[in-house]
Structures are given as structure tokens and as C-alpha cells.
Symmetry: C2
């Protein structure tokens, strides 16, 4: 491993209460930003800020449909995060398997 900053960026997605709340809601399935907003006690710019961090980390996908934006959890981004986490704490992580 050389550059830890990119990996740190991934885990920023999980280090904030509000973002965990958002992820928990998205786990049920894709949701419009407006739906997320009305279920949380934060302003619209703050939600937008958190969604940017979640998207930049690769954990969340955004899909634009008209004036709405639908967010969902990225399966591939999630896998990258899980793989990194295992790689960070387990010596020979190539022996590890995750099966669904």
C-alpha cells in the first residue's frame, strides 16, 4: 500500500452519524434526495454535501431522472470497501472469502 489518503476517503462514508443514517435508508433500495431530506433533520445543502461525500467514496450511486436525483448503494463500491477493510486488518486476506 502506498497512498493511504484514497483509502481513508472511502471510509469517510462511514464516520458520520448522518451518513450512516442515509446509508441505512438506502439499504432498503433506491431513494430520491427529496425523500431522504424529509426523513432527516438537516437542511437541503447539508444533505447535498453528505451525498457528495457518499458518492465520492464510491459507496453510493446517483441517477438523474428529470429534476430528481435517485441515490442507491453501489454494490461494486461496497465490495471495494469491504475488501479494503479486510485487507487492512487481516494478514493474508487472499485466503478470505465473502459469499452471498
Amino acid at each position: 500500500m502506498q497512498d493511504y489518503s484514497e483509502v481513508a476517503q472511502i471510509f469517510k462514508a462511514f464516520d458520520d452519524e448522518k451518513r450512516l443514517h442515509i446509508l441505512d435508508m438506502l439499504k432498503d433500495g433506491e431513494k430520491c434526495a427529496c425523500v431522504l431530506l424529509e426523513k432527516m433533520q438537516i437542511s437541503q445543502p447539508t444533505l447535498s454535501h453528505h451525498m457528495k461525500i457518499l458518492c465520492d467514496s464510491g459507496i453510493v450511486n446517483a441517477r438523474k431522472e428529470g429534476k430528481w436525483i435517485y441515490y442507491s448503494i453501489s454494490a461494486s463500491g461496497s465490495k471495494v470497501a469491504i475488501d479494503w477493510l479486510i485487507n487492512l486488518v487481516v494478514k493474508n486476506s487472499t485466503n478470505y472469502n465473502i459469499s452471498a
Copy 2:
């Protein structure tokens, strides 16, 4: 899920470059704080600060031996983190298996 703050605390361990560097060194095996310090470009109080965060998150164990403190990655703490991460991004995570 009710209280996201405790979960956020766990992932604080992974959201900082220096802490990822430390974890990467500990993955090889237990190391004295003095060894970690000499391999990093940070002051002793800063290392102490990071080690406290890593220990508080449950990811790292500390073992005192005389005037030295030996740190190592906690297998159980790591498992908690991995399980949480999967739970956060996968809908029916009970179907997931991690095998070593």
C-alpha cells in the same frame, strides 16, 4: 439500528491516513509504540493520540510490558467492524459468510 454514533466511532479508525499507515504496520504483527514512532513522521503525542483512537474503536489491542506498550490488531474488533460494514451496505447480510 438506533444509535449511529457508536458505529461511526468504529470507522474513525480507518478515516485517517496516519491511522491506516499504523494499521498496515500492525498487520505484520504486534509492535511497540516506539517502533511505530520511528517509522512515522509524527510527534510522540500525536502517535499517542492516534493509538487512543484506534484502541477506543476496538480495532487495536494494547499490551503493557514494563515501560513499553505493544499494540496489535484485535481479531474480534476487526470482525465487529467487518460485520458492521457488511450490515451497512447489504440488505440481507445474514446470508453473508466470511470464511478464512
